[in-house]
């Protein structure tokens, strides 16, 4: 079984996340960059299967600036077999369709039985890439899974929505995305970090993948303007002296919300 895991480097959510007001892109200089927590769960799901099934190959694939190497190595240190890193300056600010084209081309080149992604990236991602990639690969998608069962020829899992829990399944090859309810990523060990340095690490650009970044026939989604809202400021703060509930009730009535 060959499992491709889609991973993304994002600004650490513990820092203040900003958009660059000139380019409208995520300001990567502003915060430390980390492997997205949801993608750690995706890697974990692949490794959990590999632990039980000898001979499983886990390839992590990312499209990210060259500076993301440490993040990719983290996934290798967790236990992934090899990495494919698409680096190309012309892809800076790529829209969703272009990103999906690049990722699908990288996955097709790698070969796959199963693709595992996160359901929603934390840097303002739309949670659409897994389904877009599935379409371009011509396979089924199962998104936002809170549980995942992989067998020889099929994959299934539960998807929790507001309305209820849906049991879904698809034949392999397929693309799945995992939700936060899946187990957290495992810790990396010193041994794992050392081993990661020797694992296959391929760097590719868009042309090598056969993707035409500037195809004039294809419309792209572009940013027109970006503006920062004034930050919110604190209002009244009181320490409860036995009557805070009553004071709050009076505040809510005065605000017209109770």
């Amino acid at each position: 079984m060959k499992i491709v895991v889609l991973i993304k480097e994002v600004p650490d959510t513990w820092g203040e996340r900003r958009l660059d007001l000139e380019t409208g892109l995520t300001d990567r200089a502003g915060a430390a960059a980390v492997l997205d927590e949801i993608d750690e769960r995706a890697v974990e799901a692949a490794l959990a299967y590999a632990d039980e099934h000898a001979g499983t190959e886990v390839v992590v694939v990312t499209m990210a600036p060259a500076s993301a190497t440490a993040t990719v190595r983290k996934a290798l240190a967790m236990g992934a077999t090899s990495a494919v890193h698409v680096v190309d300056d012309t892809l800076r600010g790529a829209d969703l369709v272009l990103t999906a084209e690049v990722l699908a081309a990288a996955i097709r080149r790698t070969g796959f039985d199963l693709v595992i992604a996160g359901n929603l990236s934390t840097d303002g991602g739309g949670g659409v890439l897994p389904a877009m990639v599935a379409e371009l690969l011509g396979v089924a998608q199962l998104t936002a899974l809170s549980s995942l069962d992989v067998s020889d020829g099929a994959v299934s899992g539960d998807r929790v929505s507001d309305a209820g829990t849906m049991r879904v399944s698809a034949d392999l090859p397929a693309v799945v995305s995992v939700a936060e309810a899946m187990p957290e990523g495992r810790f990396t060990t010193f041994k794992g970090i050392m081993a990661a340095k020797k694992k296959p690490y391929e760097i590719l650009d868009a042309a090598e993948l056969g993707v035409d970044v500037d195809d004039p026939a294809v419309a792209r989604y572009i940013m027109l303007s970006v503006a920062e809202r004034p930050p919110r400021s604190a209002g009244t703060k009181i320490v409860d002296e036995g009557d805070a509930g009553e004071k709050l009730a009076a505040f809510l009535v005065a605000e017209g919300v109770a």
Binding site: W14, L224, G235, V239, D240, L252
Partner: protein
């Protein structure tokens, strides 16, 4: 006039999902709203009638199999786009519609904007509006040319249209043959109370780890009922099993923008704030005077929620009795 195609979701009971009125109203600022309902045969009539009542000028219908996930809806969308040549294809950002629109955009190489809070037009064409990083930034985007596909954040558009006469056209759909997933079962969440839905609610009362247990979460629900509010939660409260995951507010949960947001025993981590900081009025009760939630609260109480909230509920009750007399 140009048209805007709107994908509407049908609930298991046959009614349209709560996102429908906002979707139809939002799309009208771009073109004539043409609804697409791709659902099981028995649900089409009721859903179509509702769509016309919500202002759809025409309703396109396509019959799909209840056991097939996404694929047949994408095929119906592709057929509708081919027939209508719309300037905009709009669907809810809720997971099922979002998946369908994502696949459509990939199939047709159509620019896609996600989680938009509004759409409109400028001199050059369709424009979409986003609220990024919990509303700290507003971003406008547009396709370089041609039509746009967009997913609309549930609850973000309050406008509503008047009813239109019902015009139904059934759509001829050619199956693409692309493999799709199967639905093997569905267990409906039993909603015990008549509380409003979290997305789009006018008031939200949310509990965090400070609530301490699933039993004590009843206090959060009591205050929600006293205020006619929806119930929300932090991820810590969801992880601890006090509430189902659907109640999670924040960066990886639901984004809300209510008139009132009450945070009980929620410290206000940046990821939580990302989902609620655009609320008009924020109230926080937390034992810890240093809790970051106080930085954005309009009214903050440093205190024990187990003493403040019961007092608040009785004060609200007394107030209600008073105003009734």
């Amino acid at each position: 006039m140009t048209s805007a195609l709107v994908l509407l979701e049908v609930l298991p009971g046959g009614s349209l999902a709560a996102s429908a009125p906002g979707l139809i109203a939002a799309s009208a600022s771009v073109g004539d709203p043409v609804a697409l309902i791709a659902s099981t045969a028995d649900s089409l009539e009721k859903a179509s009638t509702e769509a016309a009542e919500l202002g759809a000028t025409r309703v396109l219908t396509a019959v799909t199999d209840a056991d097939a996930l996404t694929g047949p809806v994408v095929d119906a969308l592709a057929a509708a786009v081919a027939r209508e040549s719309p300037d905009l294809v709009l669907a809810s950002h809720a997971v099922e519609s979002r998946d369908a629109l994502a696949r459509l955009a990939a199939r047709l190489r159509m620019p896609l904007a996600t989680d938009v809070v509004g759409v409109g037009r400028d001199d050059l064409g369709v424009v979409a509006h986003h609220a990024a990083f919990g509303g700290a930034f507003t971003v406008d985007g547009a396709p370089t040319f041609g039509p746009l596909a967009a997913t609309l954040r549930p609850g973000s558009v309050e406008a509503r249209l008047g009813a239109r006469p019902l015009v139904v056209e059934s759509l001829d759909v050619t199956a693409s043959g692309t493999p799709h997933a199967r639905v093997e079962g569905f267990a409906e969440t039993t909603v015990a109370s008549a509380r409003p839905e979290l997305r789009g609610a006018a008031a939200v009362v949310a509990g965090g780890r400070g609530v301490g247990s699933r039993e004590d979460f009843a206090l959060v629900e009591q205050l929600a009922d006293a205020l006619g509010a929806a119930v929300g939660a932090s991820r810590a409260a969801v992880d601890a099993g006090y509430v189902p995951a659907a109640a999670q507010v924040g960066q990886t949960g639901v984004t809300v923008s209510p008139r009132l947001y009450v945070a009980l025993g929620i410290s206000g981590a940046i990821q939580h704030r990302a989902g609620m900081q655009t609320a008009r009025t924020i109230v926080a009760i937390d034992k810890n005077p240093e809790a970051p939630i106080f930085e954005i609260a309009d009214f903050g109480i440093v205190g024990d929620l187990f003493t403040v909230v019961p007092q608040l509920i009785s004060a609200l009750d007394a107030q209600k009795k008073f105003s009734r007399e």
